[in-house]
């Protein structure tokens, strides 16, 4: 039987506010345990939450970026459950009326564009951390420690519709979402520190069946690779289970990266009744149209708009435009490069950035922010290709030298110093052609006998003599002319 995988993702993006969502404590990562927790984060008697407007503004920016409805009035609710690292023993979240409603994410899977609709995105607070391992109590006994530094960190939980159909699509969706929140500056995107993590709801159904299968939720996937592996494994597990006559049980599962498998955490039946109700400590979150306008005015051009502009104004293909707009830094670098080039040559900049530049960045595991070749310098190199000073092939060598910082990383200086300037003088090339023809009469004979390969061989000999610097078009033209 052919199976279809159905996936919905719930993504927690930690919002990049300096202070927590309901208290003034710092959100900086990595501080000593419990040094960034005040009376609100510790849930001391008499403490009350106060909404951080910065967190709301980041949610508004996200809503605008995905074309969602930014609710003029949304409600904070209490999600009640006991856990030692949840200081109030309830989490302030949004339940019935979230701040962001609807919207969509567009992304490419290979060359195919796909749109996944969003259900909602809501604001909530993170919990603290329980430290179970290597933690001893005051008398050396094994114990559990609580670090509340993370408690109250603002999160935006972004929920997709179950419209994702493969692990590859899930990864492409998550990557696009990740690049979007980083692009907007609302999340630092640091997955190792947990700033961006996904829960995947996975089910399978026979292809063509309208109803969804029973789903399992895989929690806390904090890398794209884990997301992909977890979904592949979970889907396979469910398919095998059903094919063996079993039934999928609705449950929460954990992905074990070491064993590369998912395992059951708790079933639906033992799940808590969270007893949601509106938080009486927080009035409804009212967002006036003016507030939305203010946030909008401060937002960068969105990747979608940029992509369209790259296609229509700069003549890029849809795929190239999408690639260049995966990150705001890359898009900015591309635009800066193109700005230094004659009109109509942006395509060349795109090719270089998606080709040679990306490859070099990947090879050196460098971020575009730390690129050793400035946009202006790259444009300087591309200009020399356009004006015929160097060939594309030689340009790669020049780029490597620029990357290494030779001659101040300046293309012209490197071309001069290495004598890489392309020979475009008809006289000089003509002489080289004459010399080669004279030296290889046998090959000339073969050509005259009709062997096309002989022509390429002669070109090769001439380029060799020119150390690759002869203008290839001129070599071709002159050779043809002289061979009659």
């Amino acid at each position: 039987m052919e199976w279809e995988i159905v996936i919905g993702l719930e993504t927690h993006a930690q919002l990049s506010t300096a202070s927590k969502i309901f208290s003034g404590s710092s959100t900086t990562y990595g501080a000593l345990p419990n040094t960034q927790a005040n009376e609100i984060d510790m849930a001391l008697p008499g403490s009350l939450p106060v909404m951080n407007r910065g967190a709301v503004e980041r949610a508004i920016a996200f809503g605008l970026a995905v074309g969602a409805h930014v609710a003029p009035r949304s409600i904070f609710a209490r999600k009640n459950y006991f856990y030692p690292d949840l200081p109030k023993n309830y989490q302030i979240s949004q339940f019935e009326i979230p701040v962001v409603q609807g919207g969509e994410i567009r992304f490419f899977v290979g060359d195919t564009e796909k749109t996944v609709r969003l259900t909602r995105a809501h604001l909530e607070e993170d919990a603290g951390k329980s430290l179970h391992e290597n933690f001893t109590g005051p008398h050396g006994e094994s114990s559990t420690g609580i670090d509340l530094n993370r408690a109250g960190t603002p999160l935006l939980e972004i929920v997709s519709e179950p419209e994702i159909r493969s692990a590859a699509e899930a990864v492409a969706y998550a990557r696009t979402l990740h690049s979007l929140v980083v692009w907007l500056g609302i999340c630092d995107g640091n997955m190792q520190e947990g700033s961006f993590r996904c829960d995947a709801n996975v089910s399978v159904r026979p292809k063509g069946q309208a109803e969804f299968g029973t789903r399992c939720e895989i929690k806390n996937l904090n890398s794209f690779r884990f997301l992909e592996r977890a979904i592949i494994h979970e889907a396979q597990r469910q398919i095998e289970l059903i094919e063996d006559g079993g039934k999928v049980r609705q449950e929460t599962r954990l992905y074990d990266a070491d064993k590369d498998e998912t395992r059951s955490m708790r079933s639906k039946e033992d799940s808590d009744d969270y007893r949601y109700f509106p938080d009486p400590d927080l009035p409804p979150l009212v967002i006036a149209p003016e507030w939305v306008e203010r946030v909008k005015a401060g937002m960068p051009e969105l990747p979608g708009a940029k992509r369209k502009r790259f296609e229509s104004d700069l003549g890029l293909t849809g795929y190239d435009a999408a690639q260049l707009t995966m990150s705001r830094a890359v898009a900015d670098y591309f635009e800066a490069t193109a700005r230094h080039l004659p009109e109509g040559q942006a395509k060349l900049a795109a090719n270089w950035i998606l080709g040679e530049v990306s490859a070099a960045l990947n090879r050196d595991e460098k971020d575009i922010d730390a690129i050793p070749v400035s946009a202006e310098a790259l444009a300087g190199l591309i200009k020399r290709i356009i004006d015929g000073t160097i060939s594309n092939k030689i340009a790669r060598d020049v780029f490597a030298a620029m990357w290494a910082g030779e001659n101040g990383g300046d293309a012209d200086a490197i071309i001069d110093a290495k004598g890489l300037k392309q020979i475009s003088d008809t006289g000089a090339i003509g002489k080289m052609v004459d010399d080669v023809l004279a030296a290889h009469p046998a090959i000339v004979e073969e050509y005259r006998a009709g062997k096309q390969k002989a022509f390429n061989s002669l070109v090769g000999q001439i380029m060799k003599a020119a150390k690759g610097k002869a203008n290839p078009q001129q070599v071709n033209d002159l050779l043809k002319e002289k061979l009659g």
Binding site: L44, P45, G46, S47, Y90, D273, R275, P280, D281
Partner: protein, 505 residues
């Protein structure tokens, strides 16, 4: 307090004139608290802390920098967190807890110069109406120590009635300031929800909790309430504006003064034009004859002062009981979740694992009434019951608020009636029927659900030998605290119920 006074204003004059010092007043109050220790009105007293505040007050008085309450002795209900004194909410759960910060109410009164004598007994986490649910024993009614002082702010009312301090703070979730004030023969007011900051007030039912003062009479209530009130950015339910007027000290005093000026201008019939709405539902079969008679006499006194009586209907009065006892416990069940033995408070000495530690700590640390309400609250919020209980109660709550608005829209300016159906019960009554006390909250709950301001002032006596006080409830529209107090004050100018004092050993 052995020092005799008529009012906080008179105390202020005596202090400013250096006829008495803040330290003398503080010592006198501390001694009185000690002398009346059997009332169990105070839970924590620390003379050093009190006297340090008194000395600071004296220094300010000496340098001529006195504020409105400089040197005036007060005391706080033990649900306001304080840095100096322990804060227990009368619970074993917080028996040894000291807060690292002060409640806004506490710091505002301290800034105005008030000297705190200590922390007052109350029902555990403010849940109760007799002060019998205190983990540290019941407080007693100064008029008859075998009777309850009311609750939950029982210590607040008893301390004023016994003359230990001229004024105290209390909190009112469903009547917890008004009811003990009524049962102890003193005055109290719960202001409009959102006018006094809840920051630092240990939460019971967050959408209902509101702080209010207890004192001998309306003028002294004004002194405290006007100082306590005001917007606080640390409480998101705190209001910045009240009907367009900034929520800040001075707002209530200015309205009070305006009303007084209007009344004065009326001459012999000062309350001419004032329409008093009297809800028929407040005079039902549950109202005892003695309380009914005292309230009726008070209403006639108001008529004599020029006011007109209008019969009104608050048809959902009865529904306020079930609505309140769904909403308040629901919020309480969540608010009290934080007491889990993990970070502070009571932790059971022996347990098997984390979940066991939390369960045992809560079962051992909370008293029966608190556990009862947590159970009720948890139940009504459960999936499958939420719509039928919690949402339905919220609907009823809105209807009750609308009923009041309808009355204020065209029929009356203030609403009056009894605070309680009976005078103070004996300590221990209803012990086998814990919800019987809930029914006695019938006249105060609607006001709390609607978030309206309401005062309770003494208006007579009832019970055996007419020995126990009766209170009159005066309900105003939103933000009309100044008007309510001015109306109460006019009654107190014409009567002496508020000047009656219990005979104490």
């Amino acid at each position: 307090m052995s020092y005799e006074y008529d009012s906080i204003a008179a105390l202020r004059d005596a202090l400013t004139a250096r006829k008495v010092s803040a330290t003398e007043l503080a010592n006198s109050a501390l001694q009185a608290a000690q002398a009346h220790a059997s009332l169990n009105a105070f839970l924590h007293i620390d003379p050093e802390l009190t006297l340090a505040q008194a000395r600071a007050a004296d220094a300010r008085l000496a340098s001529g920098q006195a504020d409105a309450l400089t040197g005036v002795p007060i005391a706080h209900k033990d649900v306001f967190v304080t840095q100096g004194w322990r804060t227990t909410a009368a619970s074993k759960m917080l028996e040894h807890y000291t807060s690292p910060f002060d409640a806004t109410v506490v710091s505002r009164l301290a800034q105005a110069g008030a000297v705190s004598i200590g922390k007052l007994n109350c029902d555990e986490f403010a849940m109760g109406s007799g002060n019998e649910n205190s983990a540290f024993g019941p407080a007693r009614n100064p008029w008859n120590v075998n009777h309850v002082p009311g609750g939950s702010s029982g210590g607040s009312a008893a301390a004023v009635a016994a003359g230990i301090v001229p004024a105290t703070t209390g909190t009112d979730t469903g009547g917890s300031v008004r009811q003990p004030a009524a049962l102890c023969g003193v005055s109290g007011i719960k202001p409009t929800y959102g006018t006094v900051s809840r920051f630092g007030m240990i939460a019971f039912g967050s959408s209902l909790d509101q702080a209010g003062p207890v004192a001998r009479h309306a003028k002294d209530l004004l002194e405290l309430l006007d100082t306590m009130s005001g917007f606080d950015e640390r409480d998101s339910t705190s209001l910045e504006f009240c009907d367009g007027v900034a929520n800040a000290p001075g707002r209530i005093r200015s309205e009070f003064n305006d009303a007084v000026a209007r009344f004065d201008a009326n001459g012999a019939k000062p309350l001419q034009g004032l329409r008093i709405g009297v809800p028929t539902e407040f005079f039902n079969e549950g109202l005892s004859a003695d309380v009914g008679a005292a309230v009726e006499a008070a209403l006639q006194q108001y008529e004599a002062l020029g006011a007109t009586r209008v019969s009104i209907s608050l048809p959902r009065t009865k529904l306020s009981i079930p609505a309140y006892y769904v909403i308040a416990p629901a919020e309480a069940s969540s608010n009290l979740s934080r007491y889990d033995g993990v970070r502070y408070g009571y932790r059971t000495p022996s347990y098997t694992d984390l979940a066991d530690m939390t369960s045992r700590s809560r079962a051992e640390g909370f008293g029966q009434e608190v556990i009862r309400r947590i159970m009720v609250g948890t139940y009504v919020l459960c999936h499958g019951y939420y719509d039928a209980y919690y949402l339905q109660a919220q609907r009823v709550r809105r209807m009750i608020a609308n009923d009041f608005q309808q009355a204020f829209a065209g029929q009356c300016d203030v609403i009056m009636g009894p605070v309680t159906p009976t005078v103070a019960k004996r300590i221990g009554d209803n012990r086998d029927d814990p919800t019987a006390d809930w029914l006695a909250d019938i006249y105060t709950l609607g006001v709390s659900l609607a978030g309206l301001p309401a005062a309770s002032i003494p208006c007579g006596f009832g019970g055996a030998d007419a020995s126990l006080p009766v209170g009159l409830q005066i309900i105003g529209n939103y933000f009309r605290e100044g008007q309510v107090l001015a109306v109460a004050d006019r009654f107190q100018q014409a009567t002496d119920w508020h000047q009656r004092k219990p005979e104490l050993k």
